[in-house]
């Protein structure tokens, strides 16, 4: 028997989840911009509603365009499936809302995207869900913060904005020892640079708004289930292991095995919370994902050129990028991120906040806005924008100073980017 070979990453990025449209042969994924789908007859309708036949009912729950995107990210991450959501924040909320209710507790890295920090620190406590924030570089701190009511361990592959590298294998080990899943935000790295499930994570999510779509035109999220976590053995997740009255007493682990989490998230979370993605948004993200490898290679190449430039510049106090030998996670980055550490990083400028302001306002090619992962280069001052709700102590703990500047390096000619930075750095020091 000749040994078939599995499709490789770049092929999956272009094809996974989509067969040419059987009706018209459309090679591109069609945009099924419809709310609902016609049933053949009443028995067909009942069979789909009751999980006896596969199919689509209503686009809040499933849609053929979204299904292609969901399969594609699941294939690239090595999961059993995925759910597309209205935003990365919606994906995070869907994961949490599926795993716990009031009384639940999360152990999270303290180096999180500001929006995620807001959700965990301020909003979820109103719904009875508490979070303990810990140093992402200290696995023992994760272990020490776990309580009987903990339901999730959570971090980012690359912390925001200091690029702390999460030791996924070790933190996953800590979580699993306690019968808990590890959820990882892989937005900054994409599966091209790191596949967290391969390192022991159980759930992965992305703000697909960023590098996956890559062009800054849509908002979307993707939540991937690795399918390896043993919910039954954990005994902490009755939502997945006991009959659910809200869906004909379904026991999700009994019915769906490795896909239990994902099916509960869809059948309850999308149905009831309703934070679904639009089919047109899914189409845009699919277009971006087709060139993910090429773009990420160029993002990383450009970033390395800029790091080299900034590293020698007298107006730059420090740079936080794990590929630099002085970064505390340099060795771990080489292990987990051999293809590169992404295109988002921060540096501290001489002269603090005033110099930072002059620098940002002098840039011509870099755009000053609150986003990352665009094909265009971006810049922001975290202390006054993305992380402005954090107090001084929390900012310091997250590695953010008054003069910290965050760059998201795009795909422009790197010489033009360096010229732009050089000009702005010069202006910043004229105060």
């Amino acid at each position: 028997m000749a040994s078939p070979k599995p499709p490789r990453f770049d092929t999956l990025a272009l094809h996974a989840g989509q067969q040419p449209d059987p009706l018209y042969g459309s090679r591109a994924t069609p945009i099924y911009q419809t709310t609902s789908f016609v049933f053949r007859d009443t028995d067909h309708a009942a069979s789909i509603f009751n999980g006896e036949r596969a199919g689509h009912v209503y686009s809040r729950i499933t849609n053929p365009t979204l299904a292609v995107l969901e399969e594609r990210i699941a294939a690239l991450e090595g999961g059993v499936g995925a759910i597309a959501t209205a935003s990365g924040q919606a994906a995070l909320h869907l994961a949490i809302g599926t795993l716990m209710g009031a009384g639940g507790h999360i152990v999270a890295s303290r180096a999180l995207y500001g929006g995620s920090h807001n959700l965990l620190a301020y909003t979820l406590p109103r719904f009875g869900i508490q979070t303990s924030f810990v140093d992402p570089r200290d696995p023992a701190a994760f272990a020490a913060a776990i309580r009987p009511e903990t339901r999730l361990v959570y971090g980012e592959v690359l912390g925001n904005p200091g690029l702390d590298v999460l030791n996924i294998p070790v933190v996953a080990g800590v979580a699993h020892e306690a019968g808990l899943p590890l959820l990882v935000d892989a937005t900054f790295t994409t599966p091209y640079l790191c596949r967290p499930l391969d390192h022991g994570a159980d759930l992965v999510y992305h703000s697909a708004t960023k590098f996956l779509s890559g062009h800054g035109v849509v908002i979307g999220g993707l939540l991937v289930d690795g399918g390896r976590f043993d919910w039954e053995a954990s005994r902490r997740f009755p939502e997945l292991t006991e009959p659910y009255e809200g869906f004909h007493d379904l026991d999700f682990v009994e019915e769906f095995g490795p896909a239990a989490f994902l099916m509960r998230a869809r059948k309850e979370g999308l149905r009831d919370f309703g934070a679904c993605m639009s089919p047109t948004t899914a189409f845009h993200i699919l277009q971006g994902m087709e060139t993910l490898s090429l773009r990420m290679q160029r993002h990383v190449e450009n970033t390395r050129r800029i790091i080299t430039f900034l590293d020698k510049h007298e107006a730059v106090e420090s740079i936080s990028y794990p590929e630099l030998p002085e970064h505390p996670d340099h060795a771990l980055a080489l292990e987990l991120l051999p293809r590169g550490c992404g295109a988002v990083f921060s540096f501290n400028i001489q002269g603090g906040r005033p110099a930072g302001r002059r620098f940002i306002e002098s840039l011509q090619v870099f755009s000053h806005l609150a986003n990352v992962g665009d094909a265009k280069s971006l810049v922001i001052h975290p202390a006054s924008t993305t992380h402005h709700r954090m107090d001084a102590a929390a900012l310091a703990a997250a590695g953010i100073g008054e003069g910290t500047i965050r760059l998201s390096v795009g795909l422009e000619d790197p010489e033009d980017l360096i010229d732009d930075l050089s000009r702005a750095l010069k202006t910043s020091q004229r105060g």
């Binding site: 599995p6 036949r53 699941a74 090595g78 499936g81 399918g227 009994e254 019915e255």
Partner: protein
Amino acid sequence: MELQVGDQRIYAYTGNRPFREDQPVLVFLHGASMDHSVWLLQSRYFAHHGYSVLAVDLPGHGRSGGEALDSIPALADWTATFLETAGVTQAALVGHSMGSLVALETAARHPTRGRALALLGTAVPMPVGPPLLAAAERDDHAAVEMITLWGLGDRAPLGGNRVPGLWMMGGVERLLERAAPGVLYRDLKACNDYQHGLESAARVQCPVQLILGSEDRMTPVKTARQLQEQLTGARTVVLDDCGHMMMVERPDQTLDALIAAGL
């Protein structure tokens, strides 16, 4: 539901409906190293359309206790005992891959138990390639990867799952990874060692439906012909663009073929 069969706790999925003895019974038998969940859609359908369903986890598989049995005849005798324990005098036996051999042998050895047979992804004999058998014996993950790739049809590795959002390759791999060490090898060896299947087929008296995949690399359509010739009056359906894992790759067509079989 759970049953005590001998000294083992055995689990059978009933399609999210209570098991009733006053309805025709369908017994679903899974393939090597798998469990009841491969029959999810089909078993739910029949359970909600006038049948009582037992999608059993064979000993040592899924939620059932005990150790995996090491031969098809032993599994067939166990199936007859399982039916007796469940209070089922006669059932239609629906088997996939290794499960199809178990269904066939059960009908041959215990002719009063089988009302009808549906054999999916089947062939007799069912030889297992030495590289796969050797990898399974080592509990090498390569065995899981081989079955996943060989088990799916030509286009399936690029996806197109009928169940929205699920990635077939990942789902099949994770299910196989869940089996206890040694189970996959024991199952594959049982298939490989089953040499008298054609003689057993000649003894089967109940109606038989074969459901095959046009791109099945593990039990190709042409190797099922010998079996078909031994089964008097057997009907055959070949599903287009479909490999060995038809319940996952073509769930609706598989279900339609089972409905048409009049089980």
